[in-house]
Amino acid sequence: MHRIACGPEGLDSALARLAFVEVDTPEDFVERVMAALGRADGPERFALLRSVLQTPASVWQTARRHTEQTAERLAECDRLRWGAVASSAVILGVVALGLEARHLSRLREERA
């Protein structure tokens, strides 16, 4: 083992110099850190984008058409549903008014 000839003072200097001594990292260290960070690397991102770009245009158009048709059907269902609710409310209102009118009429006859 190497002797520190100067004793404690030599050790002081050697220890302080250790701040500037670095050790090599393993070869794949950066890759493992990137993987641990979950950062998609350039090539992986491009592979994903490429698969999207390679999908035929006709497939995109069919999908878009089906989506639009579905949206229209859902909107129609909504319109019918709200129309039924509105109609029911009107009917219930009319019935309530009729019952109230009959009640008031009976009260007038009893007083008379």
Binding site: E9, L11, A14, L18, D24, M34
Partner: protein, 230 residues
């Protein structure tokens, strides 16, 4: 944990300091009569790393893969070296360094750039090393010789003998237990103040001083050098 203002780069010079790098941080030669509480005026002592431009840091904080990789590549040796000096074991150093980078990028959005990024990364790495105890306590034997390759940081200028001394000390430090190695590294290698180390370790200053003293004595015994009443 000390705040960033306690961990400043070494910027001051005095006539009795011995330059180690070209225009870089200096090493002060100390004697047995020195008041150890004033031995180190600035800290931490770190190799020079070019600060990245704020734009790159911001992009990395946003998750940009390219900027992230650039930062990892820029600081990998600093982080790994700190981790290895703190734990003395390449396998543990690997785990600590990875954890340190996870913490760096988790905290990067909050980094205000008031301190140097290297100073902040140093603090994060030390914190990761101190939190990582599991394998170190199980390890019975020091790592085999040649398991790590020490090099001088760019811009550092030392003689061959001085570098060989550093290698010998590194080998000897691997045989130290964590209770003395950690305070010894933080104080004698990176130049932190005793109160800063006490805060990091959660120990009183007196305990830290005693551990550093024991660590130095153990190193001197391991290196077969002389002790002079320290």
């Amino acid at each position: 944990m000390p705040d960033a203002t306690l961990l400043r780069d070494v910027t001051s010079y005095s006539a009795d300091r011995e330059a180690v790098g070209h225009g870089g941080p200096t090493v002060r030669r100390v004697t047995a009569d020195d008041d150890v509480s004033t031995r180190v005026a600035d800290g931490p002592r770190l190799p020079s790393v070019d600060e990245p431009d704020p734009g790159m840091v911001a992009r990395a904080a946003d998750g940009d893969a390219k900027a992230t990789r650039e930062l990892v590549e820029r600081y990998e040796r600093l982080v790994y070296s700190i981790a290895w000096k703190m734990c003395g074991d390449p396998q543990n150093a690997d785990d600590i360094a990875q954890e340190a980078f996870l913490r760096v990028f988790r905290g990067l959005p909050g980094f205000r750039q008031e301190a140097r990024l290297s100073t902040w990364i140093f603090r994060v790495t030390v914190s990761a090393a101190l939190d990582y105890r599991r394998r170190e306590e199980r390890r019975a034997e020091p790592p085999e010789a040649g398991a790590v390759v020490p090099r001088l940081a760019p811009g550092t200028d030392v003689t061959f003998d001085q570098f060989e001394q550093c290698r010998a000390v590194l080998d000897a430090m691997a045989g130290l237990g964590p209770a003395v190695r950690r305070p010894l590294v933080l104080r004698e290698v990176y130049g932190l103040r005793y109160d800063e180390i006490g805060t990091l370790l959660g120990r009183p200053v007196g305990t830290v001083k005693a551990a550093v003293h024991r660590g130095r004595a153990a190193l001197l015994r391991l290196l077969d050098g002389r002790t002079q009443g320290r």
